[in-house]
């Protein structure tokens, strides 16, 4: 039985990697399509991390764009003002966001879900305001900030296709880490907290610690994704880190399905393609997110993945 699941997982991973490798070749004449694929990979990292917070530990953050923002601005500004290579500033920015996440999570993990949403919305807005009207205009405020390409070992990722392959490797790394976490003592403690924090506490799980840890992990994922975004498009402005982005992450996660590896892949891909389809009517984006969220919450709480799973179960039961 377990061998079967293992094989099926391996098959899924193989398909993901092959599709991932082939995509830029398919779109070789359409750089814009490759750029969209880059966005999908970047969002996939952010949303996979978000899943650690929401799907594993059962908490909520309505201002997750804040960490995405800290990653992007952190890396771009650090590179601009110190000249440290981008490869390292991305990591430093992500670690910084992790620390900030820990600091914010420490008080907010004490709150019940609806106050936690409010507190995280507030945090999201604080970060947005700070980059929008920064002291001494160090972030460039509304004019935004220009930054450079990412270089990996002297190899400049100056085309979308080059960046795409780097992003694909990062996605696999981050998803491997998430997979390890899900199947470990730490991940199980987080799941137990989501299921029943009272019983988890009684079973020896330090609830507070793991709640904060889930925040920290998700902040690292989001911030690294943000830094990747900054050095892919090489220009960031506060508009890219509005509340809308937080809602987009949430929509992607819930629409795909939580506490899984494939849920974010499904959700991120579908919502990203929708984003592109809506580009001529981008003011309706929030409306579409809202409708999607309502749809998922009211009609299929497990997301697309949940629907697929229950359909599969029905088929298996019919065969019996």
């Amino acid at each position: 039985m377990s061998a079967f699941i293992g094989n099926r997982n391996r098959l899924g991973i193989m398909i993901f990697i092959i599709v991932g490798l082939v995509l830029p070749l398919v779109f070789s004449a359409m750089p814009y399509a490759v750029l969209v694929c880059c966005y999908i990979l970047i969002y996939l990292i952010a949303v996979s991390g978000f899943d650690v917070l929401v799907g594993f530990s059962g908490q909520i953050s309505m201002g997750h764009a804040a960490y995405y923002c800290i990653g992007a601005y952190g890396s771009a500004m650090l590179h601009k003002y110190t000249g440290i290579p981008v490869f390292f500033t991305m990591l430093i920015a992500a670690v910084t966001a992790t620390l900030v996440g820990t600091l914010i999570a420490w008080p907010t993990t004490k709150l019940v879900a609806h106050f936690m949403s409010l507190a995280t919305i507030a945090f999201g807005n604080i970060v947005f305001q700070l980059v929008n009207t920064s002291p001494g205009r160090i972030t460039g405020d509304a004019n935004g900030l220009h930054t450079t390409y990412l270089s990996v070992f002297g190899y400049e990722l100056n085309t979308y296709t080059r960046f795409y392959y780097f992003a694909l490797i990062m996605v696999l790394l981050f998803m491997l880490i998430k997979y390890n976490l899900l199947h470990s003592r730490v991940g199980r403690a987080m799941l137990a907290i989501r299921e029943n924090d009272h019983a988890a506490n009684g079973m020896g799980v330090n609830v507070r610690f793991y709640k904060v840890a889930a925040f920290a992990v998700s902040a690292f994922f989001a911030a690294y994704a943000g830094a990747m975004f900054a050095h892919l498009v090489r220009y960031i402005s506060p508009d890219s880190f509005k509340q809308t982005v937080s809602v987009m992450f949430l929509t992607m996660l819930l629409f795909g399905g939580t506490a899984s590896m494939s849920g974010p892949i499904i959700g991120v891909t579908i919502v990203s393609l929708l984003n592109e389809a809506l580009r001529p009517a981008s003011s309706y984006k929030m409306l579409v997110y809202g409708v999607l969220l309502l749809f998922v919450i009211l009609i299929f709480p497990g997301g697309i993945l949940g629907v697929m799973r229950s359909m599969k179960e029905k088929i298996i039961q019919k065969r019996k």
Partner: protein
């Protein structure tokens, strides 16, 4: 092993547990009985750290438990089950046990994130051990099912082995027989004895089923309106006029 001195907790004007003292030794099966609302579950919540007592002391194996959080008390060697089933319903039966073994495992954050070799080995051993726990209560064939999908009686058993898998020295069982039929109660009777004789874990059992409690317990405490009104062997307790009055009413 467990020493409780003058334990009291008040909620607003209500004294739910009033000046209760108890002494438990290793190696006997203890019972805690009393009419509804006597404060039995509140007492368990005090011992397991869910509530902080207004006054009084709890010490376990020579060290004080005052001010300890539930997860610290579990680590100190007291595990418990709940009156209302508190399983991790959307986790598998096996994962429920693995969470129970949380304090028995050492893999930290880094080891878990990067799936280091020592973590892999510990994980394999833990899974094997968890299967043994499930075999102990005969539900290993359900290991990969969701805990919430088990029949009621098996959920109760799972909750007890989950508590046992954290290797406690004392286990608090809150109405383990609630909602069980007589055949399931018979199994439970043997099981609680096995906890004592094979695992050497001391049980303290809250139960309303008098037949069960008088049969398995070596020593019984009786609470009524938050106060301890009697303690002793089942025979002594059954003959105690105060206990009879508490259960049947009277002057």
């Amino acid at each position: 092993m467990l020493d409780i001195n003058n334990l009291t907790i008040t909620f607003g004007g209500l004294t739910a547990v009033n000046d209760v003292s108890m002494h438990l030794d290793e190696g006997r099966i203890y019972g805690l009985i009393g009419p509804n609302g006597a404060g039995k579950t509140t007492f368990f919540n005090l011992v397991s750290g869910v509530y902080i007592p207004t006054s009084g002391n709890i010490s376990f194996c020579g060290s004080s438990l005052n001010g300890k959080k539930p997860y610290q008390i579990n680590k100190a060697g007291i595990s418990r089950t709940y009156q209302v089933i508190n399983l991790f319903k959307k986790m598998t039966v096996l994962e429920n046990i693995l969470v129970g073994m949380h304090t028995q495992m050492k893999s930290d954050f880094a080891a878990s994130l990067f799936h280091l070799r020592k973590e892999r080995r510990e994980e394999e051993e833990a899974v094997e051990k968890a299967h043994q726990w499930l075999q102990f209560v005969g539900i290993d064939q359900r290991a990969n099912d969701m805990a919430g999908s088990l029949p009621y009686g098996e959920q109760r058993l799972l909750e007890i082995v989950r508590a046992l898998s954290s290797k406690p020295r004392l286990i608090l069982l809150d109405e383990p027989a609630a909602g069980m039929n007589s055949a399931e109660k018979e199994t439970l009777n043997g099981f609680i004895r096995k906890i004592m004789s094979e695992l050497h874990v001391t049980p303290l059992v809250i139960e309303h089923d008098m037949k069960l409690i008088m049969d398995i317990c070596d020593y019984i405490f009786v609470l009524s309106f938050g106060k301890k009104i009697a303690e002793g062997t089942p025979q002594q307790v059954q003959a105690d006029p105060e206990v009879i009055a508490a259960y049947l009413g009277g002057e």
